[in-house]
């Protein structure tokens, strides 16, 4: 009973208040107590097909609402809606928070869910407490797939340059030009290491790392295995290749077989020289450790991609007094090999090893191509440093790789 009465009284008062307010409005006087909430809209909303991508994406940009720039309290952010005609209907697809002091005047949103070929309009609405106002993009925009990623133009030039440099030196080496290659200590020692194993009548172990054939270091390691096993065939030493990946096992067998064949000792080859232990990193390390202490090889090669097992293997090898020659392009594992092995091929030297050991002009030519790459990079760093430091040009930006 009382409740109804109260509601009635309230209603009357509300009516009165509203009509007073309306009168006030008509008379053109502002009302201090009840300003209707408003928000300034964003401006210059534009949409365009996101460039250099595989389609299905449109980028929307707009100038921030003046309220956002002025950091008016109660300003929330922006809602992005999408439709296929400028009149709507629009469907909300996402939101963007209000900007901060440091943000630029333009804001952007990436719509990653478009159908290529369909024309879209976008509505960008500024949102504040109780108020919304928006701007619509003026033209229908369609997304499409690009045939060339212009963001990668610097990479394209770099790739073409490197490939041509290497090809040039390969062809000039083929034509009979003499190429000088400096000594690489670890590789000079290969002969001696294989020879020592032969003299002692002990085995040689070759460990091609713990990664599979989808790592180029493993492949580089296996090309070195080719040269090493050729030597063992010539010296009539025995080589064991325990591996941790089945594909590596298959490849290593091809490699060793070919080496024995070309050394003229095909009958000395058996498949048992290459055997699989386990795919597991540490299971493999446990297995190799066992093999090392039981068979006491005179020489151990570690060539390929290694992780934490590097030191476990190299220290065990060291404990039985084997000559150890390691090579890897895993920067984090290099210190351990350097500490525990007699010789270590550092990074790039791993990839140069097969060319170096083969003495084939074509392969040596490719090393010369790498060296040209080095000169260019050193020059870029020195010149770039001067240009950058003197504030002439933002040289570094030439080398920014889009998309990481």
């Amino acid at each position: 009973m009382t409740q109804k009465l109260l509601t009635g009284v309230l209603l009357v008062f509300t009516f009165a208040a509203v009509s007073i307010a309306q009168e006030a409005d008509i008379s053109g006087q502002a009302v201090d107590s009840l300003p209707p909430p408003t928000v300034a809209p964003p401006s210059e909303a534009t949409a365009k097909d996101t460039p250099n991508d595989a389609g299905s994406s449109i980028t929307i940009t707009w100038k921030r609402s003046p309220d956002d720039l002025a950091r008016v309290s109660g300003f929330i952010g922006y809602d992005i809606s999408r439709g296929t005609s400028p009149e709507g209907p629009f469907e909300k697809i996402g939101d963007v928070p209000a900007g901060t002091v440091d943000d630029p005047e333009l804001k952007a949103y990436l719509d990653n869910n478009t159908v290529d070929g369909t024309g879209y309009f976008y509505l960008v609405e500024a949102k504040a407490k109780g108020a919304v106002s928006g701007a619509v993009t003026s033209m229908a925009v369609t997304s499409s797939q690009a045939w060339f990623n212009f963001g990668l133009i610097n990479m394209f030039i770099a790739t073409v340059f490197m490939i041509s440099a290497i090809l040039y030196y390969i062809s000039s080496a083929k034509a009979g030009k003499k190429l000088y290659i400096r000594k690489i200590a670890g590789l000079e020692a290969v002969d001696e290491a294989v020879g020592r194993a032969t003299e002692m009548g002990k085995k040689i172990f070759f460990i091609p790392g713990t990664q599979d054939m989808d790592n180029v270091q493993t492949i580089a390691g296996l090309t070195i295995l080719g040269r090493v096993s050729r030597l063992t065939a010539e010296y009539e030493a025995r080589i064991d290749v325990p591996v941790s990946r089945s594909l590596v096992m298959i490849t290593a067998r091809e490699v060793v077989k070919e080496a024995y064949l070309s050394a003229g000792r095909p009958d000395a080859y058996t498949d048992d020289m290459v055997y699989y232990l386990t795919d597991d990193q540490f299971g493999y390390a446990a297995g190799i450790d066992g093999l090392i202490v039981r068979q006491k090889p005179a020489t151990i090669f570690y060539q390929g991609a290694f992780y934490a097992e590097s030191l476990i293997l190299a220290e065990t090898g060291n404990s039985i007094g084997a000559i150890q020659i390691a090579g890897t392009a895993m920067p984090a594992q290099l210190p351990f090999f350097v500490a525990a092995c007699d010789y270590t091929l550092i990074g790039e030297e791993l990839f140069a090893a097969s060319a170096y050991l083969s003495h084939e002009p074509k392969l040596l030519g490719s090393l010369k191509g790498q060296d040209l790459g080095k000169i260019v990079i050193i020059a870029a760093l020195i010149i770039g440093f001067l240009i950058q430091a003197l504030g002439i040009y933002n040289f570094a930006s030439l080398f920014r790789v889009a998309g990481g």
Binding site: E254, G287, A332, V401
Partner: protein, 232 residues
Amino acid sequence: MSVFGIWVGAVLTLGILSFLYKDNPFYKMSEAIFLGISAGYWFVSLFWQNLVPKLFDNLGITKLLGLNEEDGAIQAIFVHGEYDERIWYFIAGILGIMMLLRLVPKIGWISRWPLAFVVGTTAGVYLTRYLASNAVAQINNSLKDFIVIGQPDFISWTNFNYLLIIIGVTTGLTYFYFSKEHKGITGGAAKIGIYFLMITFGASFGYTVMSRMSLLIGRLDFLYSDWLRLIP
């Protein structure tokens, strides 16, 4: 953890640990278990995690076998008459079978085809990706933060460090230079480069010591707390 499980774990742990003293039957046992179990683990994992979802599901073989409800390419094409791009995974299946043909000595050479595919893929992917992230992007990283002349911090510790990094990178690269003897200017630069590389090796080694020690602490904690219950 059940008590039995802890005992199994502790015994195997001690088996591996005993290797430090010398090779012994206890270690040989742990090693044999490790080899068998881990090889089996990867064998099973690759089957369920690679072969089944990537080959059998995509083609629809799992549905034919009644292991899965979802349609694959086979159902899409032969039941619904729609082209399904997953049918291309058929080639991967063939490449896999070619691999297994190694077991037949006469035609074992055909396994070189999938091998060549793998090597080609690896070479193609690595060429551009490494050139981008390890070479081109590193030039950008070495240059980008340098404070420009005229700004208040131009002569500062920060800029000195950036300069030092550029010296280190260029001289370090000279060390890797193959087609010239390390004499004269090249030799001098390479010599400085070697010092940078030596610092790198020493520092990385020293840095890793800490986490390697923590690993052992973790194992000892397991032995003393969970197994022997010496530590509350």
